[in-house]
Amino acid sequence: MVTEPFRDTRIELSHGSGGLASRRLLEGLIVPHLANSQFNAGALTDAAILPIESGHLAFTADSFVVQPLRFAGGSIGSLSVHGTVNDLAVSGARPLALLSTFILEAGLPAVVLEAELSAMAAACSAAGVNIVGGDTKVVEHGKADGMYVTTCGIGVLEANVKLSPARVQVGDKVLLSGPIGDHGITVLLARGELDIEAELASDSRSVWPMVQALLAVCAAEVRWMRDPTRGGVASSLNELAQDAKLCVTLREKDIPVRDCVRGACEVLGLDVLHVANEGQFLAVVAASAAEQALSAVRAVPGGEAAALIGEVESGPAGRLRVFTEHGSSRVVEMLVGEQLPRIC
């Protein structure tokens, strides 16, 4: 393999043509950043070959389009690793390997791509997962927003894990891993349109360590998990309520939210339950195991703020209801369209 460093300052159409320029980009920039023992680095082949363990495989894909590409606490690169790792994690699967596909806009500065590759490498190493292959295409300038990343992930299901809305029962408890809204508000403010600043960073991270700890103490009692990304906690739990034909109820005061996220939501008229997260997960756990589950998640660094935020009731079926401290409730629907700040 040639190991000549990539010297072009900008991405050109030729870098996606499959010819010499493509090979220079791959071998000079992408591989050096993402290389690992599974990358078949000696010879770039058409497919990654992985040893199979016994059990069940989990297989998922996610695409990432975000503006701006970098924001406090993360970037499109780290997001693309965490997003797919987390999809595997909340399926009860230990992440094994990722594929990553780039759609690059011609004219993208090479340093921007390099920064994202390095963010991906760091995220992979923190999450204990390898990128084992991928693909790169370049589109004309103006046909994409800098860069898009798609990652596919493969994982192995942990023992005794059986997750399904059908297993959710009346009386089960809802566990949330930490404060919500950090990511969505951070990105909204990072776009700069609103000219609002806050000391806030995205929560983008792998939730696998917390999920692993949870499954280690009560795998059989965990009925359902989800990472509440776009559409927020409200959308994830509405889906659960509809799929399980049960009612999910939350206690507003028990839902962890940082002060400045609350402040931003009040200023912008947003419901924090609709705001995106990239480093949290929701789990429905049998009531008998709830306290044990909570302690396990809280014991993991980064899981200290986990909380039991509500429970499953019989009806009204298909609804998410949030109870206030003064004893009344409201129905919270799924997010409709894009979340927009309001002034009235």
Binding site: I196, D259, G263, E266, V267, G269, I343
Partner: protein, 91 residues
Amino acid sequence: MCLAIPGKIESFVDAEERMAVADISGVKRQVSVDLLRREDETLKVGDWVLIHVGFAMSKISESQAKEQLEILTMLGEAQKAMEEIQDLEVC
């Protein structure tokens, strides 16, 4: 009809003190204080104002706020006293 939220004046941006940085629970935004530039009152750093679409609409009166909460607290206490009396009567 109009979303407005209390914020604390943290600093003034310009020499004429027409723009200020307001802090709303750790969230910061530049706001115009033009509507509160009046002869009979001066706005200072540390004052609380009500903010709507980037404009300070009104200075929040601490004494009025206190008074309102006192009235309501008294209401709660009066109810409690009534309940206690009723409980005594039941016994």
